[in-house]
Every structure is written in C-alpha cells, then in structure tokens.
Amino acid sequence: MFTTPRVVLIALCAALNFALGSIVFLIKLPIYLDSIGTILCALLIAPRAWVAFSCAALAGLISSCIAGLLINPFLPWFALTDVAIALVSAFITARGIAIFRARPIRVGALVVRVISYGVLTGVVAAVVSAPVVAYLFGGVTGSGSALVVAYFLKTGQQLMNATLLSGLTAEPIDKSLQVLLAVLLYRATPGEFIDLVHAK
C-alpha cells in the first residue's frame, strides 16, 4: 500500500498542510486552510478509496504532529478532525475526480460539486471538532469565530451547542475554499506524477 511515490505524496501533502496552515496561523487569517494537503492526497490516489483514506489520514496526522511541535501546540488535539476530513475526501469528494480533471473545465458542474463536497466536509469537521473546541478552549480559540460563539452564548445557548453552531457557520465556508484550492492543485498536478502514485 505504501509504495515510495505514495510515501513521498503523503510527505508532500503533509508539508503543504504545514506550510499553508502556518502562514494562515501566523498572519491570523479568519480561516484555517490546513487540510488542503489532506484533501489533495485523497484526490490524487482516488478511486482506490481505502488506500486514499489511509494516505490522506496519515498526511493530516503527520502535519498536525509537526505543526503541533513547531507552530501551534493545540493542533494535535484536532487529530480526529483530520481523520474525518480524510474519510469524507476519500469516500465522497473523490467521486468527483472525473469532473475535477475534465478538460476543458466544466465550470458549472465543478462549482456545484466543490460547494456540495466542501459544505459536507465542513459539517463533518464542525461536528467532530466541536467537543475539542468546547472543552479545551472553552469555546474561544482566538479566531474570529469566537465572536459567533459569544453571540450564541449570549442568546442563551449551552457552550457545546454554541460551539457547534459557530463551527457549522464557519467550517462549511472554510472547507469549501479548501476543497476548491485542492481541486485546482489536483488539476494542475502533472499526469506523470499521478501515474507514479497509482502504480503498484
């Protein structure tokens, strides 16, 4: 399962997660962009769903560990979110690879799929990460979404509900953007590299 090209792909995607996640964390953008590598890894290995899931999950976990040690010590606590994103990407988002790679680009079909897969990934990520955000950070992570949590708390919601509702507000937008960027990188990746990754 883990041939040399796939091992290199996992490391490349983990490096991509780390690099983009660090830039966003350091310049305090109100988005995460730290799972593009995970989604891209699943797309590049598709349609073999289980292999794609294993490799994408490893890419997410490795980047979380390294970023946890070097940039943001709290990232490893979201390891389950990485696994959930890998699962959705490998089993659902990867179903759109024919449209994602179609030449000439089919804009309408691509946009519809990117938004629907992005929203689904976002909902799953929000549900999985809500308990961590609620318990570890008390619902406030230092990002702009904390104000949404504060609003829901002010309206009388419980902490867990407020965190979940805040996640459901912000994550689908962030994940749609991440799926879009992953799809664009997938389109740009040379077929030669994809052939290497698919070879047994």
């Binding site: 490096a15 690099a19 980047s63 390294i66 406030v140 740009a188 040379p190 290497l196």
Partner: protein
C-alpha cells in the same frame, strides 16, 4: 551523539521525554479546578528547572507569549460580552463576571502547561538534528520515514515558495510588501510552488533516489538509531503520573 541530552540535567531519551510530556498534557487537560491546575503548574515548573535550568525561563516566556493574547481575547469574550461562565455554582451566582474570569484563567493555565511542556521537551534535545530526534523515537519505521521526509519537503517547499515569489515580484504580479495585488495573485504563488515541488519529487522518485539508493539508506539510518527507554525515563514517567494524581486530588 554520545549523550541523549547533554545540555540538560536529566539524561532522558526522546521517547521518555515525549511520554512524560504526554502524561503531563493529559493531566493538564483533565484538570478542572484552579487548585489542581496550580499544583500541576508548580510541578511542571520544578521539572523544567531541574532539566533545563536557566533555559526553563525561555520556555516559560514562550508559553506566556502564546497564552497572554489568548487570555486577553477569552477574557474579553467571557467576562465582557457573555458576562458569565458556562456553568455557575450557587456560591458564586452573585458575581458571574468574577466566575467567568476564573473560568478563563483555568483554561489558559491548562493551555500554558501544554505549550510549556512541549517547549521543555523540544529544548531538552535542541542539540540533536531532526533526523537524530525522530530516529530515537519508539515509532514504526514508516512513521519515522514520513516525519523525516515531511521535514525535508517543508524545506523544499519553503525554497520553492521563495523562488516563485521572487519570480512573481520580478514579473510584476506581486509586490514585496503587503498589497491587494498579493492577495489577488496568491493563488498563482501556491500553484507555482506546488508545481516546482512536484517536478522535484518526480525527478527524485524516478532518477535520483533509485541511483543513490536513498530510501533503503534512509531505512537503514533510521533503523540504526538506538531506541532506548531508560530507567530514568521510567522513573520520570512514574513521577509524572504520581504528580498528576496528587494535583487532581488537590482540586
């Protein structure tokens, strides 16, 4: 690398230090009351002073630098905007803002401990290269290989970003300072950097690595590091478990 951590007071192995850090982190995360968090902070501070001596202050300073802005932000949200903690006991029901401040302080103290112990663990082995550190961890070979390759590719990616950025500035698509043009063209930078690293990866996988036998040599190097779990590691882990239990009982 004769000694595992020459610059520190305790000759722990990386595996032992990571295990101890994990025990402390779990202890901190599940400490719910101010008393237990405070006790755990004292214990971790003592451990850092013993292992890192004067450099413990640098680790504490780094953790403070991360946590203080978060504390200010959390305090603004919980104390000023919400005006109460998520749950409030009858004994402090008459001063909800004070209770909110205590709630924020406990959360931030826990986060401080987590950041501090990660920093202490890293500083203990600051004289090791990443390859030496990863090689000595008790992990499956595949994971060690992935960690080493990722660290190497992060450098490659950083160089690719630098080169691409310079080219885009020269061509007038981006500027060297913060600008709207940078924001609009950041996608071209990401795509160019990705294509650069992919080209490098294809060349390495197909030509360079098979000739140099790089992957087999990497397996060999990673397999040769002694993965030791010393009696000092075991004692430190045990003391950490006892320390966490004592801290919890004080809550």
């Amino acid at each position: 690398m004769q000694s595992e951590s020459r610059s520190t007071g305790l000759p722990m192995s990386p595996t032992g230090a990571v295990l101890l850090g994990t025990v402390i982190t779990i202890g901190a995360i599940f400490s719910l009351r101010p008393g237990s968090v405070l006790a755990l902070m004292l214990e971790v501070g003592l451990f850092a002073a013993l292992t890192l001596k004067r450099r413990a202050a640098a680790a504490a300073g780094y953790a403070m630098m991360v946590v203080l802005p978060l504390f200010a932000f959390m305090a603004a949200v919980w104390v000023i905007v919400v005006g109460r903690p998520p749950t409030i006991g009858a004994e402090i029901a008459h001063m909800p803002r004070t209770a909110a401040l205590v709630y924020v302080a406990v959360i931030c103290a826990r986060l401080f401990i987590v950041i501090f112990i990660v920093r202490v663990t890293l500083l203990q082995f600051s004289e090791m290269t990443p390859l030496q550190f990863v090689g000595r961890l008790a992990l499956p070979l595949l994971i060690k290989k992935l960690l080493v390759l990722t660290l190497s590719l992060i450098e490659t990616l950083a160089h690719a970003v630098d080169r691409s950025r310079t080219a885009l500035i020269t061509s007038g698509l981006m500027t060297s300072r913060f600008s709207l043009r940078n924001f609009l063209h950041v996608w071209i930078l990401i795509q160019t950097a990705w294509l650069t690293v992919i080209s490098i990866a294809i060349a390495r996988i197909r030509d360079k690595w098979p000739i140099e036998n790089t992957m087999a040599r990497l397996d060999d190097v990673l397999g040769r590091f002694a993965v030791r779990f010393t009696s000092i590691d075991a004692a430190a882990a045990l003391i950490a478990v006892v320390g966490v239990a004592v801290a919890w009982s004080l809550g």
